[in-house]
Structures are given as C-alpha cells and as structure tokens.
Symmetry: C2
Subunit: 142 residues, 2 copies
C-alpha cells in the first residue's frame, strides 16, 4: 500500500464530512458553525456563549458571530444570567425548538454514515485512537 | 464511557493538529494552506496548479491564492507547460529548495507526534478505518 500520512487522512475526512453537512443544512439556511452552536444549545438549554467556545474550542469572536446570526434568524435568544450579570444564557426559540428533532436526525445520520459497514469494536478502537492522538497533540501544545 | 460522536473527535483532531502546524510555520511566515502546497511541489517538482487542487481537494481559487502568495514570498515560481500551453508547472526556487528538508522534518515530526505511543498495527487499522469512513462519505456525495 502506498504511504498515506495520518495528517492527510484526517484532513480528507474532515473536509468531506463538512461538505455533506453543508449540503444538508442548505435548506435551513444554516452554516456549519451555526449548526454546531445550535446543536450545543439543543442539548444544554441555557448554556453560556463562553462555555460553547470552550466545548467546541472555537475562539470567542467566531462564536459571537455565529450566535448573532442564530439570533437574527430567529433560532435562539439570549437572556442575562441571574448568577453572573455579565454573562448571557442561550435558549432556543419556538423556531429553534422545532429544529431540535431535525438536528438530532442530522447528527445521527452523520454518525451512521461514518460508521457504515464498520463493526462496533472497530469504532470503539477508532474513537480511542482519536483520543490518544488528540492527547499527544495537547501534550505538545502545553 | 460518555458517548462521544465520531464527528466531534474528528473535528478536535483536525483543529488541534492545525494549531501545532501554525505554530511551527510562524517562523517561516507560511500559512497552513501555503505549506500544504509547497509540500506538494517539494514532492512533485513541476506539478500543475490544477493537479494540486485535485490532490488536496481544495477549490481552484483558494489554490490560486496560496500559489500567488508562495510566488510573492519567493518560495516557488511558475513556468508555462510545454505540452499544454494553457497550464503552468510549479517549481521551487532556491529559497523553496532550502525549505524542503525543513518541510520533511515538520511532516515527519507531526506524523510521529500523532502516532506516539500507538503501535504500528493500530495505526494501520486507524488508517484503514479513515479510508473506509471517507469512502462512506464519498458514496453519499455521489
């Protein structure tokens, strides 16, 4: 077999996976970044913008931009945090709530597509190896 | 173990991997995209811009932009293709040639870092699974 770098394999997978997502999201006029944030809010109602940046490891200004777009499109709204007056909690609007089952379908379909014809044991090992590689990278960045 | 989506694992790996690369490239004032293209030319002297787009699966205008930057920085130059007068072949300049061993070091160091503490058999399986997943995605995009 020809030598293929891990690096290129990860790049290709990432790029192709996002192409499919973009295609599915076109009908809702949602970008990939906005989708990820809406997905976070769908699973964690009331989550803060800062927490989303942290979980998704996206910088704060990119998160702020996507949050603004989601508000403008009527998918979410923000509310001042009762405990920390400088922070905001994010919630889904009615329109956003109607998106939740669709989001879950998209997320599940993507997982099923990725793991198609691959047995559970291999998927488990694949995930463990991703985490190990991620750990190696984090170790270096320290 | 908490459920972690394949999707998120791939995203995290991709993002972290690129962070490390950006850090290493700062000293050469090279962006990640430019590095990938310079790397392609380093391995395939005389390759065309179109071929690079195809291999790296980056759109043509993004490739053209990075190629222009690499020319402006004095790393590469282009030459009209003798066989196809509409196409250009890309070559490394002296400065670019001096970058080649450094590029190979960066590429090798990244591969070693990713696969640190993971045995060869697991890396082989990981690569095969990446290719299988990629195949699943491509099948869907048809």
């Amino acid at each position: 077999m020809e030598f293929v770098a891990l690096d290129k394999l990860i790049d290709d997978l990432y790029r192709e996976k996002n192409k499919i997502l973009s295609k599915k999201l076109e009908q809702y006029s949602l970008g990939n970044g906005q989708f990820q944030i809406l997905n976070e809010i769908a699973w964690n109602d009331g989550i803060s913008q800062e927490k989303i940046s942290e979980i998704r490891m996206i910088n704060k200004s990119a998160t702020a931009k996507s949050v603004k777009r989601l508000i403008d499109k009527g998918y979410i709204f923000k509310e001042r945090d009762e405990k920390d007056k400088r922070a905001y909690c994010l919630h889904c609007t009615e329109k956003g709530k109607q998106m939740i089952p669709k989001i879950r379908d998209i997320v599940n379909a993507r997982e099923s597509l990725l793991s198609k014809n691959i047995d559970e044991k291999e998927i488990k090992l694949f995930k463990a190896l991703c985490q190990k590689m991620y750990g190696n990278l984090r170790e270096q960045l320290k």
